[in-house]
C-alpha cells in the first residue's frame, strides 16, 4: 500500500519551474533515499509532501489523504508525518523536554505527564536522557539532530521525512545521527530521506531516487542504482560523491 504518493507534481517559483512531473510512491515500511546535485529539487519535493511548500500541479497523497486539496486539515496531516530538517530547527527558547512535549500536548491533546513519559522514553532511545533539562543551544549539532528526530517520533508518525539530516553536521557527528535512522529503518518505519550519505542508502534503503533539474531521473532499487545506473547524469553524480 502506498503511504506517500506523488502524481505528476510540478512547481514553479514565478516563471521558474523547480519541479517537473514528479511521480513516485513509497509503500508502508519502505525506505527511499532521494539524492541528486544541489538545486535539483530534492528538498523542495520532500517539503511538498507535508505542504511546507505549495505546488501548483499534480497530487500528493499521504495515507490516501490529498495534501493539495482545499478541505484537507493540514495541521492534522502534518502531525501524522515526522519531519527532520537540515538545520535541526529545535525551538531555542524551550528546553529539550518542552521541545519534545509541545506538539504532543498542543496537537495530540496528551496530558503533560503522558507527553513527558513519552518524551523521556524517546530521549533515552536516542541516548540523550541526561540532557533533558538543557536548552538546544547547549547541545552539539549531532545531539540536537537526535533530539529533533525524537521530537518527530513523539507524535507517533506514520512516516518520516528527512531533509538532508546530516549535511549541517561536523563529520564526527554524522554517525550518531545515521545510527538512529538505521535503527528506525530496521523497525519498519516508512522513510523518505534526502541525503548524500550513500553508505546509508546502501545499508538500509529499499529504493533510490535520483533527481536532476527538478525531474525524477532514476527511480529504482538500490541494487540497480549502485550496480547499473542507467543515465549519464546519475553516473556522473555517483562518481563525484563516491570518489571521496
Amino acid at each position: 500500500m502506498a503511504m506517500i504518493e506523488f502524481q505528476n507534481v510540478s512547481k514553479w517559483y514565478g516563471s521558474f519551474q523547480v519541479l517537473t512531473d514528479c511521480s513516485t510512491s513509497i509503500d508502508k515500511g519502505q525506505v527511499v533515499v532521494v539524492c541528486g546535485p544541489s538545486g535539483s529539487g530534492k528538498s523542495t519535493l520532500i517539503k511538498c509532501a507535508n505542504a511546507l511548500e505549495p505546488f501548483q500541479k499534480g497530487e500528493i497523497r499521504i495515507d490516501g489523504v490529498s495534501v493539495g486539496a482545499k478541505g484537507t486539515d493540514l495541521p492534522k496531516l502534518r502531525s501524522r508525518i515526522g519531519m527532520v530538517f537540515q538545520h535541526f530547527e529545535l525551538f531555542p527558547h524551550l528546553s529539550i523536554t518542552e521541545n519534545l512535549t509541545l506538539g504532543q500536548i498542543r496537537v495530540l491533546n496528551r496530558s503533560k505527564d503522558e507527553a513527558m513519559a513519552k518524551g523521556m522514553k524517546l530521549l533515552e532511545r536516542v541516548g540523550l536522557k541526561e540532557q533533558a533539562n538543557k536548552f538546544p543551544g547547549q547541545l552539539s549539532g549531532g545531539q540536537q539532530q537526535r533530539v529533533a528526530i525524537a521530537r518527530a517520533l513523539a507524535m507517533d508518525p506514520i512516516a518520516m521525512l528527512f531533509d538532508e539530516p546530516t549535511s549541517a553536521l561536523d563529520p564526527e557527528m554524522v554517525g550518531e545521527v545515521l545510527d538512529v535512522m538505521v535503527g528506525l529503518a530496521h523497525e519498519g518505519m516508512t522513510m523518505m530521506v534526502v541525503t548524500h550519505e550513500m553508505g546509508f542508502a546502501r545499508k538500509v534503503s529499499d529504493r533510490v531516487i535520483f533527481m536532476d533539474q527538478g525531474r525524477i531521473v532514476e527511480d529504482c532499487t538500490k541494487k540497480e542504482f549502485f550496480e547499473t545506473p542507467r543515465g549519464p547524469r546519475a553516473q556522473e553524480f555517483l562518481s563525484k560523491i563516491l570518489t571521496h
Binding site: S79, F85, H87, E89, G103, G137
Partner: protein
Amino acid sequence: MGDLDFGVIARVWPYLLSGLQYTVQLTVVAAIGGVIFGTLLAMARLSSIKPLAMVAAGYVNLMRSIPLLLVIFWFYFLVPVLWQTITGAERPPSIGAERSAYITFVLFEAAYFCEIMRAGIQSIPRGQVGAAYAVGLDYWQSMRLVVLPQAFRNMLPVLLTQTIILFQDVSLVSLLNVTDFVGAAGKIAQRDSRLVEMYLFVAIIYFLLCWLLSWLVKRLQQRIAIVR
C-alpha cells in the same frame, strides 16, 4: 539659591502623587495595549492576505506621520463630533479626557510597537515556522508558542526604548487638562511661583523611574535570554 523652597514638594505631595499615578497607569496601559494591538498589526502586515496587509500598513503609516499632539487633539475634539455626524445623535458623546487619552495612546503606540514586532517576527528564521507547522501546530499556535516568544525576546531592548519614549510622551495629555505628573507639578509651579523647584523635582523623578525601568528590563532579559 537662598530663596528656593523645596518644602513645597512635601506640602503638595498627595496631589503630585495622584498625577504620577495617572502617568504610570497610562504608560502601563498604553504599553501593554500597544504591544498587543501592535503585534496583531504586525501579523496583519506580514499576512499573505493582501487587503489585510494593506489596511494594516496604511494605519501604521498614517499614525506615524501625524504628530502625537495632533492625534491627541483629534481623538478628543474631532472623533466625538464625527461620531455624532455618523450616528445622528443629538449631542456628541462625552468620552472624557482621561478615557480619550487611554484610547489615543493605545492606538498611537500600537503603530510603533507594530514596526518593532514586525522586525522581531522577521528576525526568526523561516525554518522555525516550518518546524512549528511540521509538528502540527496551526498558524496561531505557531505564532503564540514559537515565533512571538522568540521575537519578543529579540526585540526587548527596542520595546524598552519605545516604552521610555511613551512614558515621557504621556506628559502631553496635560494639554487636555488631564492632570498627569508634569501637569500637576506645572499647576503648583504656577500657583506658588516655584517653577525651579517643581520642574527640577519632576526631572529627577522621571530620571529615576526610567533608570529603574531599564534596570528591571535588563534583569528580565537575563532571566529569559535564549541560551545559544
